[in-house]
Protein backbone atom coordinates (compact mmCIF):
# COMPACT_ATOMS: atom_id res chain seq x y z
CA UNK A 1 0.00 0.00 0.00
CA UNK A 2 1.43 3.36 -1.04
CA UNK A 3 0.74 6.38 1.11
CA UNK A 4 -0.11 9.73 -0.42
CA UNK A 5 0.48 12.87 1.64
CA UNK A 6 -1.82 15.79 0.88
CA UNK A 7 -1.99 19.28 2.43
CA UNK A 8 -4.44 19.10 5.29
CA UNK A 9 -6.28 22.38 4.87
CA UNK A 10 -7.27 25.35 2.78
CA UNK A 11 -7.31 25.98 -0.94
CA UNK A 12 -4.31 23.76 -1.53
CA UNK A 13 -6.24 20.78 -0.11
CA UNK A 14 -9.41 21.58 -2.07
CA UNK A 15 -7.53 22.02 -5.33
CA UNK A 16 -5.56 18.82 -4.77
CA UNK A 17 -8.82 16.93 -4.15
CA UNK A 18 -10.14 18.50 -7.36
CA UNK A 19 -7.11 17.43 -9.42
CA UNK A 20 -7.47 13.82 -8.29
CA UNK A 21 -11.28 13.92 -8.78
CA UNK A 22 -10.75 14.91 -12.44
CA UNK A 23 -8.84 11.64 -12.78
CA UNK A 24 -11.57 9.61 -11.15
CA UNK A 25 -9.91 9.33 -7.77
CA UNK A 26 -11.95 10.63 -4.87
CA UNK A 27 -9.96 11.86 -1.88
CA UNK A 28 -11.89 12.85 1.19
CA UNK A 29 -11.51 13.65 4.82
CA UNK A 30 -13.61 11.34 6.88
CA UNK A 31 -15.62 12.50 9.85
CA UNK A 32 -15.65 16.09 10.95
CA UNK A 33 -13.73 19.01 9.49
CA UNK A 34 -11.37 18.93 12.42
CA UNK A 35 -10.41 15.30 12.04
CA UNK A 36 -7.34 14.50 9.96
CA UNK A 37 -8.35 10.92 9.04
CA UNK A 38 -8.91 10.48 5.32
CA UNK A 39 -9.96 8.00 2.68
CA UNK A 40 -9.45 7.23 -1.02
CA UNK A 41 -12.02 5.84 -3.48
CA UNK A 42 -11.57 4.83 -7.07
CA UNK A 43 -8.07 3.39 -6.85
CA UNK A 44 -6.55 0.37 -5.16
CA UNK A 45 -3.41 0.26 -3.12
CA UNK A 46 -3.33 3.93 -2.15
CA UNK A 47 -3.83 5.35 1.34
CA UNK A 48 -4.23 8.99 2.19
CA UNK A 49 -2.44 10.97 4.91
CA UNK A 50 -3.33 14.55 5.69
CA UNK A 51 -0.23 16.59 6.53
CA UNK A 52 1.00 20.15 6.70
CA UNK A 53 2.42 21.06 3.26
CA UNK A 54 5.69 21.98 4.95
CA UNK A 55 6.11 18.49 6.41
CA UNK A 56 5.44 16.59 3.19
CA UNK A 57 9.03 16.94 1.83
CA UNK A 58 10.51 15.51 5.01
CA UNK A 59 7.99 12.63 5.17
CA UNK A 60 8.76 11.73 1.54
CA UNK A 61 12.50 11.75 2.18
CA UNK A 62 12.06 9.65 5.32
CA UNK A 63 10.03 7.07 3.38
CA UNK A 64 6.95 7.35 5.62
CA UNK A 65 4.90 8.41 2.59
CA UNK A 66 5.69 7.44 -1.00
CA UNK A 67 3.67 10.09 -2.82
CA UNK A 68 3.02 13.68 -1.81
CA UNK A 69 1.57 16.95 -3.01
CA UNK A 70 3.43 20.08 -1.99
CA UNK A 71 5.09 23.18 -3.42
CA UNK A 72 8.35 22.89 -5.35
CA UNK A 73 9.66 25.72 -3.14
CA UNK A 74 9.22 23.67 0.04
CA UNK A 75 10.93 20.61 -1.44
CA UNK A 76 13.94 22.62 -2.57
CA UNK A 77 14.18 24.54 0.68
CA UNK A 78 13.75 21.64 3.07
CA UNK A 79 15.58 18.80 1.31
CA UNK A 80 19.30 19.34 0.73
CA UNK A 81 20.01 17.37 -2.45
CA UNK A 82 16.28 16.96 -3.14
CA UNK A 83 16.76 15.19 -6.48
CA UNK A 84 18.42 12.34 -4.61
CA UNK A 85 15.24 11.83 -2.55
CA UNK A 86 12.22 12.70 -4.68
CA UNK A 87 11.03 12.91 -8.28
CA UNK A 88 8.52 15.38 -9.71
CA UNK A 89 5.72 13.31 -11.29
CA UNK A 90 3.44 16.14 -12.40
CA UNK A 91 2.97 19.85 -11.88
CA UNK A 92 -0.65 20.30 -10.80
CA UNK A 93 -1.29 23.74 -12.28
CA UNK A 94 -2.26 25.54 -9.09
CA UNK A 95 -0.69 26.90 -5.94
CA UNK A 96 1.53 29.13 -8.09
CA UNK A 97 3.72 31.39 -6.02
CA UNK A 98 6.99 33.17 -6.69
CA UNK A 99 9.81 33.43 -4.22
CA UNK A 100 11.02 36.98 -4.80
CA UNK A 101 13.39 39.53 -3.38
CA UNK A 102 11.62 42.76 -2.40
CA UNK A 103 12.99 46.12 -1.25
CA UNK A 104 11.30 49.33 -0.06
CA UNK A 105 9.35 50.91 -2.93
CA UNK A 106 10.86 54.26 -1.92
CA UNK A 107 14.31 53.05 -3.00
CA UNK A 108 14.17 54.82 -6.35
CA UNK A 109 17.78 53.89 -7.05
CA UNK A 110 17.13 50.15 -6.77
CA UNK A 111 15.80 48.64 -9.98
CA UNK A 112 17.74 45.41 -10.31
CA UNK A 113 20.10 43.02 -8.56
CA UNK A 114 23.17 45.06 -9.54
CA UNK A 115 21.69 48.07 -7.76
CA UNK A 116 20.88 45.86 -4.81
CA UNK A 117 24.47 44.59 -4.60
CA UNK A 118 25.82 48.16 -4.71
CA UNK A 119 23.34 49.34 -2.08
CA UNK A 120 24.25 46.40 0.19
CA UNK A 121 27.90 47.42 0.04
CA UNK A 122 27.08 51.09 0.80
CA UNK A 123 24.75 50.06 3.60
CA UNK A 124 27.39 47.91 5.24
CA UNK A 125 29.89 50.76 5.12
CA UNK A 126 27.41 53.28 6.50
CA UNK A 127 25.88 51.15 9.25
CA UNK A 128 28.70 48.80 10.21
CA UNK A 129 26.67 45.66 9.64
CA UNK A 130 25.48 43.72 6.65
CA UNK A 131 22.19 44.59 4.99
CA UNK A 132 19.53 42.29 6.45
CA UNK A 133 17.15 40.21 4.35
CA UNK A 134 14.25 38.67 6.27
CA UNK A 135 13.13 35.26 5.02
CA UNK A 136 12.19 31.74 5.96
CA UNK A 137 13.71 30.34 2.74
CA UNK A 138 17.30 30.42 3.90
CA UNK A 139 18.81 27.82 1.57
CA UNK A 140 17.07 29.00 -1.60
CA UNK A 141 17.84 32.67 -1.00
CA UNK A 142 21.45 32.04 -0.05
CA UNK A 143 22.02 29.80 -3.07
CA UNK A 144 20.44 32.39 -5.39
CA UNK A 145 22.45 35.30 -4.04
CA UNK A 146 25.64 33.26 -4.02
CA UNK A 147 25.00 32.28 -7.68
CA UNK A 148 24.56 35.95 -8.53
CA UNK A 149 27.59 36.87 -6.43
CA UNK A 150 25.82 39.33 -4.17
CA UNK A 151 27.82 39.92 -0.99
CA UNK A 152 27.49 42.27 2.01
CA UNK A 153 24.10 40.95 3.14
CA UNK A 154 22.88 38.67 5.92
CA UNK A 155 19.74 36.64 6.31
CA UNK A 156 17.54 37.11 9.34
CA UNK A 157 14.97 34.48 10.11
CA UNK A 158 11.32 35.43 9.78
CA UNK A 159 8.69 32.72 10.01
CA UNK A 160 5.72 35.02 9.46
CA UNK A 161 4.62 38.62 8.80
CA UNK A 162 7.88 38.94 6.90
CA UNK A 163 6.64 41.97 4.94
CA UNK A 164 6.45 43.92 8.21
CA UNK A 165 10.10 43.50 9.12
CA UNK A 166 11.26 46.45 7.00
CA UNK A 167 8.92 48.94 8.67
CA UNK A 168 9.89 47.45 12.03
CA UNK A 169 13.55 48.11 11.20
CA UNK A 170 14.54 44.48 11.73
CA UNK A 171 15.41 44.02 8.04
CA UNK A 172 16.17 46.18 5.00
CA UNK A 173 14.74 43.78 2.41
CA UNK A 174 12.73 40.57 2.35
CA UNK A 175 12.63 37.35 0.37
CA UNK A 176 9.22 35.72 0.46
CA UNK A 177 6.55 33.91 -1.48
CA UNK A 178 4.00 36.04 -3.27
CA UNK A 179 1.26 35.29 -5.76
CA UNK A 180 -0.41 38.64 -6.37
CA UNK A 181 2.15 40.96 -4.77
CA UNK A 182 -0.62 42.69 -2.85
CA UNK A 183 0.81 42.22 0.65
CA UNK A 184 4.15 43.53 -0.62
CA UNK A 185 2.53 46.66 -2.04
CA UNK A 186 0.50 47.21 1.13
CA UNK A 187 3.79 47.23 3.04
CA UNK A 188 5.41 49.66 0.59
CA UNK A 189 7.75 47.06 -0.88
CA UNK A 190 8.57 46.37 -4.52
CA UNK A 191 9.82 43.26 -6.25
CA UNK A 192 13.21 43.29 -7.96
CA UNK A 193 12.31 42.09 -11.46
CA UNK A 194 15.54 40.15 -12.09
CA UNK A 195 15.49 38.46 -8.68
CA UNK A 196 12.91 35.73 -9.14
CA UNK A 197 14.45 33.17 -6.84
CA UNK A 198 12.05 30.35 -7.58
CA UNK A 199 8.70 29.97 -9.36
CA UNK A 200 6.80 27.42 -7.31
CA UNK A 201 3.61 25.47 -7.89
CA UNK A 202 1.84 22.54 -6.28
CA UNK A 203 3.42 19.36 -7.63
CA UNK A 204 2.89 15.63 -7.19
CA UNK A 205 6.13 14.10 -5.94
CA UNK A 206 7.16 10.46 -5.54
CA UNK A 207 9.93 9.11 -3.36
CA UNK A 208 12.84 8.25 -5.64
CA UNK A 209 13.04 4.76 -4.10
CA UNK A 210 9.60 3.95 -5.58
CA UNK A 211 10.50 4.80 -9.17
CA UNK A 212 10.15 1.72 -11.40
CA UNK A 213 8.14 -0.31 -8.88
CA UNK A 214 4.86 -1.95 -9.87
CA UNK A 215 2.68 -0.28 -7.21
CA UNK A 216 3.82 3.20 -8.24
CA UNK A 217 3.38 2.33 -11.90
CA UNK A 218 -0.19 1.21 -11.19
CA UNK A 219 -1.04 4.47 -9.42
CA UNK A 220 0.57 6.53 -12.18
CA UNK A 221 -1.41 4.72 -14.90
CA UNK A 222 -4.61 5.31 -13.01
CA UNK A 223 -3.73 9.01 -12.81
CA UNK A 224 -2.86 9.01 -16.53
CA UNK A 225 0.74 9.98 -15.80
CA UNK A 226 2.44 7.22 -17.82
Amino acid sequence: MLKLGVPSKGRLMDQTFGWFAERGVRLSRSGSDREYAASVDGIDGLGLVMLSAGEIPRELAAGRIQLGVTGTDLVREKLAGWRSDVVELAPLGFGEADLVLAVPACWRDCEDLDDFAAIARDFRQAHGFRLRIATKYHRLVRAFLSDHEVADYQLVDSQGATEGTVANLTAEAIADITSSGETLRANHLKILPDALIHASQATLFAARSQIGTAPLHAVMSRLRLT
Binding site: G81, R108, F123, Q154
Partner: protein, 356 residues
Protein backbone atom coordinates in the same frame (compact mmCIF):
# COMPACT_ATOMS: atom_id res chain seq x y z
CA UNK B 1 39.14 3.67 4.92
CA UNK B 2 42.16 5.22 6.56
CA UNK B 3 41.86 4.87 10.32
CA UNK B 4 41.56 8.09 12.26
CA UNK B 5 44.69 7.20 14.22
CA UNK B 6 46.74 7.07 10.99
CA UNK B 7 45.50 10.51 9.98
CA UNK B 8 46.31 11.85 13.45
CA UNK B 9 49.81 10.34 13.18
CA UNK B 10 50.45 12.26 9.94
CA UNK B 11 49.16 15.40 11.65
CA UNK B 12 51.44 14.88 14.66
CA UNK B 13 54.44 14.42 12.37
CA UNK B 14 53.76 17.72 10.62
CA UNK B 15 53.01 19.47 13.90
CA UNK B 16 56.37 18.32 15.27
CA UNK B 17 58.07 19.64 12.14
CA UNK B 18 56.33 23.01 12.58
CA UNK B 19 57.51 23.12 16.19
CA UNK B 20 61.04 22.33 15.02
CA UNK B 21 60.73 25.28 12.63
CA UNK B 22 60.28 27.52 15.67
CA UNK B 23 56.50 27.65 16.10
CA UNK B 24 54.72 27.69 19.44
CA UNK B 25 51.87 25.19 19.57
CA UNK B 26 48.45 26.69 20.32
CA UNK B 27 45.09 25.01 20.85
CA UNK B 28 42.19 27.35 20.04
CA UNK B 29 38.66 26.53 21.23
CA UNK B 30 36.49 24.29 19.10
CA UNK B 31 33.36 26.28 19.97
CA UNK B 32 33.94 29.85 18.77
CA UNK B 33 31.82 33.00 19.04
CA UNK B 34 29.93 33.32 15.76
CA UNK B 35 29.81 37.10 15.42
CA UNK B 36 33.41 37.63 14.27
CA UNK B 37 33.15 34.94 11.62
CA UNK B 38 29.72 36.09 10.46
CA UNK B 39 30.90 39.65 10.06
CA UNK B 40 33.96 38.48 8.12
CA UNK B 41 32.42 35.91 5.81
CA UNK B 42 28.73 36.78 5.85
CA UNK B 43 26.29 34.20 4.65
CA UNK B 44 29.05 32.00 3.21
CA UNK B 45 29.87 30.93 6.72
CA UNK B 46 26.26 30.00 7.52
CA UNK B 47 26.23 27.77 4.46
CA UNK B 48 29.53 26.20 5.41
CA UNK B 49 29.81 26.17 9.20
CA UNK B 50 27.78 24.56 11.94
CA UNK B 51 26.11 27.27 13.95
CA UNK B 52 24.32 26.67 17.18
CA UNK B 53 23.17 28.75 20.12
CA UNK B 54 24.32 28.80 23.68
CA UNK B 55 21.88 30.23 26.23
CA UNK B 56 24.59 32.49 27.64
CA UNK B 57 27.14 33.02 24.88
CA UNK B 58 24.59 33.44 22.10
CA UNK B 59 25.40 32.21 18.60
CA UNK B 60 28.45 29.97 18.49
CA UNK B 61 30.09 28.07 15.67
CA UNK B 62 32.04 24.83 15.47
CA UNK B 63 35.53 25.88 14.39
CA UNK B 64 35.46 26.13 10.56
CA UNK B 65 39.13 27.11 10.37
CA UNK B 66 42.02 28.01 12.64
CA UNK B 67 43.21 31.25 11.12
CA UNK B 68 40.61 33.51 12.71
CA UNK B 69 41.00 32.20 16.31
CA UNK B 70 44.81 32.17 16.00
CA UNK B 71 44.85 35.74 14.68
CA UNK B 72 42.42 36.90 17.39
CA UNK B 73 44.59 35.31 20.04
CA UNK B 74 47.72 36.89 18.63
CA UNK B 75 46.07 40.33 18.33
CA UNK B 76 45.01 40.10 21.99
CA UNK B 77 48.31 39.08 23.50
CA UNK B 78 51.10 38.22 21.09
CA UNK B 79 54.38 39.95 20.32
CA UNK B 80 56.18 39.92 16.99
CA UNK B 81 57.63 38.14 15.29
CA UNK B 82 55.53 35.15 16.24
CA UNK B 83 55.21 31.67 14.83
CA UNK B 84 52.29 29.47 15.82
CA UNK B 85 51.33 25.93 14.93
CA UNK B 86 48.24 23.84 15.66
CA UNK B 87 46.56 20.55 14.94
CA UNK B 88 42.88 19.78 15.29
CA UNK B 89 39.51 19.19 13.70
CA UNK B 90 37.61 21.70 11.62
CA UNK B 91 33.95 21.29 10.74
CA UNK B 92 32.36 22.16 7.41
CA UNK B 93 28.85 21.64 6.12
CA UNK B 94 28.72 20.31 2.60
CA UNK B 95 25.55 21.47 0.86
CA UNK B 96 25.85 20.15 -2.67
CA UNK B 97 22.77 21.65 -4.26
CA UNK B 98 20.11 19.58 -5.97
CA UNK B 99 21.75 16.17 -6.01
CA UNK B 100 23.86 14.56 -3.31
CA UNK B 101 27.13 13.10 -4.58
CA UNK B 102 27.92 9.42 -4.06
CA UNK B 103 31.07 10.27 -2.19
CA UNK B 104 30.35 13.38 -0.18
CA UNK B 105 33.26 15.34 1.21
CA UNK B 106 34.10 15.02 4.88
CA UNK B 107 32.18 17.16 7.35
CA UNK B 108 34.99 17.05 9.88
CA UNK B 109 38.65 16.68 9.19
CA UNK B 110 42.05 17.48 10.63
CA UNK B 111 43.99 20.58 9.79
CA UNK B 112 47.58 21.13 10.77
CA UNK B 113 48.83 24.64 10.29
CA UNK B 114 51.55 27.22 10.69
CA UNK B 115 51.03 30.98 10.98
CA UNK B 116 53.77 33.59 10.91
CA UNK B 117 53.31 37.18 12.08
CA UNK B 118 56.30 39.14 10.89
CA UNK B 119 57.29 42.27 9.02
CA UNK B 120 60.17 40.45 7.33
CA UNK B 121 59.54 40.47 3.55
CA UNK B 122 61.07 36.98 3.47
CA UNK B 123 58.06 35.59 5.40
CA UNK B 124 56.21 34.42 2.27
CA UNK B 125 59.18 32.36 1.14
CA UNK B 126 59.71 30.98 4.64
CA UNK B 127 56.17 29.62 4.91
CA UNK B 128 56.01 28.34 1.34
CA UNK B 129 59.39 26.62 1.57
CA UNK B 130 58.45 25.02 4.88
CA UNK B 131 55.30 23.46 3.41
CA UNK B 132 57.20 22.54 0.24
CA UNK B 133 59.89 20.72 2.21
CA UNK B 134 57.46 18.85 4.47
CA UNK B 135 55.18 17.84 1.62
CA UNK B 136 57.97 16.88 -0.82
CA UNK B 137 57.63 13.11 -0.17
CA UNK B 138 54.02 13.25 -1.37
CA UNK B 139 54.91 14.57 -4.85
CA UNK B 140 52.22 17.25 -4.97
CA UNK B 141 51.85 20.01 -7.56
CA UNK B 142 52.66 23.46 -6.17
CA UNK B 143 50.78 26.50 -7.47
CA UNK B 144 51.24 30.11 -6.38
CA UNK B 145 49.41 33.34 -7.04
CA UNK B 146 49.54 36.93 -5.93
CA UNK B 147 46.47 39.01 -5.13
CA UNK B 148 48.72 42.08 -4.83
CA UNK B 149 49.25 42.05 -8.57
CA UNK B 150 45.54 41.99 -9.30
CA UNK B 151 44.61 44.54 -6.65
CA UNK B 152 47.37 46.92 -7.77
CA UNK B 153 46.28 46.55 -11.40
CA UNK B 154 42.71 47.41 -10.44
CA UNK B 155 43.82 50.37 -8.31
CA UNK B 156 45.83 51.65 -11.27
CA UNK B 157 42.97 51.67 -13.78
CA UNK B 158 42.14 55.10 -15.25
CA UNK B 159 38.88 55.23 -13.28
CA UNK B 160 37.71 57.23 -10.28
CA UNK B 161 38.91 55.93 -6.89
CA UNK B 162 35.26 55.10 -6.16
CA UNK B 163 34.99 52.79 -9.19
CA UNK B 164 38.38 51.21 -8.52
CA UNK B 165 37.25 50.46 -4.97
CA UNK B 166 34.05 48.85 -6.24
CA UNK B 167 36.03 46.58 -8.55
CA UNK B 168 38.51 45.70 -5.81
CA UNK B 169 35.67 44.86 -3.42
CA UNK B 170 34.28 42.29 -5.85
CA UNK B 171 37.57 40.84 -7.07
CA UNK B 172 36.73 37.53 -5.37
CA UNK B 173 33.39 37.40 -7.24
CA UNK B 174 34.49 37.02 -10.89
CA UNK B 175 31.12 37.49 -12.59
CA UNK B 176 30.10 40.53 -10.58
CA UNK B 177 33.58 41.95 -11.18
CA UNK B 178 33.15 41.37 -14.92
CA UNK B 179 29.72 43.02 -14.95
CA UNK B 180 31.16 46.09 -13.26
CA UNK B 181 34.09 46.20 -15.65
CA UNK B 182 31.66 45.90 -18.53
CA UNK B 183 29.54 48.74 -17.17
CA UNK B 184 32.57 50.99 -16.73
CA UNK B 185 33.68 50.21 -20.29
CA UNK B 186 30.73 51.87 -21.98
CA UNK B 187 28.79 55.11 -21.67
CA UNK B 188 26.25 55.00 -18.86
CA UNK B 189 22.62 54.98 -19.90
CA UNK B 190 20.91 57.93 -18.18
CA UNK B 191 18.49 56.83 -15.47
CA UNK B 192 15.40 58.67 -14.37
CA UNK B 193 15.03 57.56 -10.72
CA UNK B 194 11.33 58.35 -11.10
CA UNK B 195 9.59 59.69 -8.00
CA UNK B 196 6.91 57.18 -7.05
CA UNK B 197 5.15 58.59 -4.01
CA UNK B 198 5.96 55.60 -1.83
CA UNK B 199 6.35 56.56 1.83
CA UNK B 200 9.81 56.13 3.27
CA UNK B 201 10.28 52.85 5.07
CA UNK B 202 13.20 50.98 6.58
CA UNK B 203 16.54 51.82 8.12
CA UNK B 204 18.33 52.95 4.97
CA UNK B 205 17.87 56.71 4.98
CA UNK B 206 16.77 59.10 2.26
CA UNK B 207 20.16 60.78 2.61
CA UNK B 208 21.89 57.50 1.81
CA UNK B 209 19.80 57.12 -1.32
CA UNK B 210 20.36 60.74 -2.34
CA UNK B 211 24.11 60.26 -1.93
CA UNK B 212 24.06 57.20 -4.18
CA UNK B 213 21.92 58.91 -6.82
CA UNK B 214 24.27 61.90 -6.81
CA UNK B 215 27.22 59.56 -7.22
CA UNK B 216 25.56 57.72 -10.10
CA UNK B 217 24.76 61.02 -11.80
CA UNK B 218 28.23 62.43 -11.44
CA UNK B 219 29.62 59.11 -12.72
CA UNK B 220 27.98 59.83 -16.06
CA UNK B 221 30.55 62.56 -16.58
CA UNK B 222 33.35 60.07 -16.07
CA UNK B 223 35.19 58.90 -19.16
CA UNK B 224 34.57 55.28 -20.11
CA UNK B 225 37.32 52.78 -19.56
CA UNK B 226 39.16 52.33 -22.86
CA UNK B 227 38.79 48.78 -24.20
CA UNK B 228 42.55 48.30 -24.14
CA UNK B 229 42.48 48.40 -20.32
CA UNK B 230 39.92 45.68 -20.12
CA UNK B 231 42.08 43.55 -22.43
CA UNK B 232 45.19 44.19 -20.36
CA UNK B 233 43.33 43.26 -17.19
CA UNK B 234 42.03 40.07 -18.80
CA UNK B 235 45.53 39.19 -19.99
CA UNK B 236 46.87 39.66 -16.48
CA UNK B 237 44.07 37.69 -14.81
CA UNK B 238 44.43 34.80 -17.27
CA UNK B 239 48.20 34.57 -16.97
CA UNK B 240 49.43 31.08 -16.01
CA UNK B 241 52.60 29.09 -16.50
CA UNK B 242 55.82 27.93 -14.90
CA UNK B 243 56.81 30.66 -12.44
CA UNK B 244 59.94 31.94 -14.30
CA UNK B 245 58.09 32.22 -17.64
CA UNK B 246 55.10 33.82 -15.93
CA UNK B 247 57.47 36.35 -14.37
CA UNK B 248 58.87 37.22 -17.80
CA UNK B 249 55.37 37.72 -19.15
CA UNK B 250 54.46 39.85 -16.15
CA UNK B 251 57.49 42.07 -16.81
CA UNK B 252 56.26 42.65 -20.35
CA UNK B 253 52.75 43.29 -19.08
CA UNK B 254 54.08 45.77 -16.52
CA UNK B 255 55.20 47.99 -19.40
CA UNK B 256 51.52 48.38 -20.23
CA UNK B 257 50.17 48.25 -16.66
CA UNK B 258 52.75 50.33 -14.76
CA UNK B 259 50.76 49.95 -11.51
CA UNK B 260 51.87 46.33 -11.19
CA UNK B 261 55.61 47.03 -11.62
CA UNK B 262 56.31 47.03 -7.88
CA UNK B 263 54.28 43.90 -7.26
CA UNK B 264 56.14 42.18 -10.09
CA UNK B 265 59.45 43.15 -8.46
CA UNK B 266 58.21 41.75 -5.16
CA UNK B 267 57.19 38.51 -6.89
CA UNK B 268 60.66 38.31 -8.46
CA UNK B 269 62.27 38.82 -5.05
CA UNK B 270 59.97 36.19 -3.56
CA UNK B 271 60.90 33.67 -6.25
CA UNK B 272 64.59 34.42 -5.60
CA UNK B 273 64.02 33.86 -1.90
CA UNK B 274 62.28 30.57 -2.66
CA UNK B 275 65.16 29.54 -4.93
CA UNK B 276 67.61 30.48 -2.17
CA UNK B 277 65.82 27.93 0.00
CA UNK B 278 66.65 25.22 -2.50
CA UNK B 279 63.41 25.06 -4.52
CA UNK B 280 63.59 25.39 -8.29
CA UNK B 281 61.02 28.04 -9.28
CA UNK B 282 60.57 26.26 -12.62
CA UNK B 283 58.77 23.48 -10.76
CA UNK B 284 56.20 25.93 -9.38
CA UNK B 285 53.17 26.91 -11.39
CA UNK B 286 52.05 30.52 -11.25
CA UNK B 287 48.37 31.36 -11.75
CA UNK B 288 47.55 35.06 -11.58
CA UNK B 289 43.95 34.38 -10.50
CA UNK B 290 44.87 31.69 -7.98
CA UNK B 291 43.68 33.68 -4.96
CA UNK B 292 40.39 34.74 -6.51
CA UNK B 293 38.66 31.46 -5.84
CA UNK B 294 39.63 31.13 -2.20
CA UNK B 295 37.99 32.75 0.78
CA UNK B 296 38.23 36.49 0.75
CA UNK B 297 40.91 36.95 3.34
CA UNK B 298 44.01 36.25 1.28
CA UNK B 299 45.17 39.58 -0.09
CA UNK B 300 48.74 38.93 -1.20
CA UNK B 301 50.82 35.86 -1.94
CA UNK B 302 48.79 32.61 -2.12
CA UNK B 303 49.82 29.00 -2.55
CA UNK B 304 48.33 25.53 -2.77
CA UNK B 305 49.55 21.97 -3.12
CA UNK B 306 47.29 19.60 -5.03
CA UNK B 307 47.32 15.85 -5.67
CA UNK B 308 47.49 15.54 -9.45
CA UNK B 309 46.21 11.95 -9.30
CA UNK B 310 43.02 13.18 -7.60
CA UNK B 311 41.63 16.08 -9.61
CA UNK B 312 38.37 15.98 -7.64
CA UNK B 313 40.14 16.60 -4.33
CA UNK B 314 40.40 19.99 -2.69
CA UNK B 315 43.99 21.20 -2.20
CA UNK B 316 45.94 19.00 0.20
CA UNK B 317 47.58 22.13 1.57
CA UNK B 318 46.98 25.83 1.02
CA UNK B 319 47.81 29.19 2.46
CA UNK B 320 48.77 32.75 1.85
CA UNK B 321 49.12 36.26 3.14
CA UNK B 322 46.22 37.88 4.97
CA UNK B 323 47.35 41.29 6.19
CA UNK B 324 43.87 42.82 5.85
CA UNK B 325 42.34 40.16 8.08
CA UNK B 326 44.62 41.12 10.95
CA UNK B 327 43.55 44.75 10.49
CA UNK B 328 39.86 43.79 10.67
CA UNK B 329 40.35 41.54 13.69
CA UNK B 330 42.56 44.10 15.44
CA UNK B 331 39.91 46.83 15.23
CA UNK B 332 37.92 45.96 18.38
CA UNK B 333 41.11 45.99 20.45
CA UNK B 334 42.18 49.24 18.76
CA UNK B 335 45.26 47.55 17.33
CA UNK B 336 46.64 48.11 13.86
CA UNK B 337 46.97 45.14 11.55
CA UNK B 338 50.25 43.31 11.21
CA UNK B 339 51.62 41.42 8.24
CA UNK B 340 50.71 37.74 8.48
CA UNK B 341 51.15 34.69 6.32
CA UNK B 342 50.25 31.10 7.04
CA UNK B 343 49.00 27.83 5.70
CA UNK B 344 47.34 24.55 6.53
CA UNK B 345 47.68 20.96 5.38
CA UNK B 346 45.10 18.19 5.59
CA UNK B 347 46.62 15.12 7.28
CA UNK B 348 43.62 13.00 6.27
CA UNK B 349 44.25 13.52 2.57
CA UNK B 350 48.00 12.99 3.01
CA UNK B 351 47.32 9.69 4.81
CA UNK B 352 45.02 8.61 1.98
CA UNK B 353 47.65 9.56 -0.57
CA UNK B 354 50.50 7.63 1.02
CA UNK B 355 49.20 5.13 3.55
CA UNK B 356 52.07 4.29 5.86
Amino acid sequence: MIPRTAKAAVGQRLLAAFRDAGAVEVAPDILLPADTLLELYGEDIRARAYLTTDPIRGEVVLRPDFTVPVVSMHMAAGAEPARYCYLGEVFRKQDHGDTRPEHPRDNEYLQVGYELFSRDPDADAEVFALFHRLLAPHRLAATIGDMDLLLDAVAGLPLSPERCAMLAHHIWRPRRFERLLDRFSRPLVPRSFAVNGAPWTGLRSEAEMAARIARLESARAEPVLPGIWRERLHRLFALTGAAPQALDELRVLADHIPAIAEAVDRLAARLDAIAARGIDPATIRFEASHGRTTMEYYDGFTFSFTATAHPDWPPVASGGRYDALTAVLGLPAGKPGIPAVGGIARPGLLAELDPC
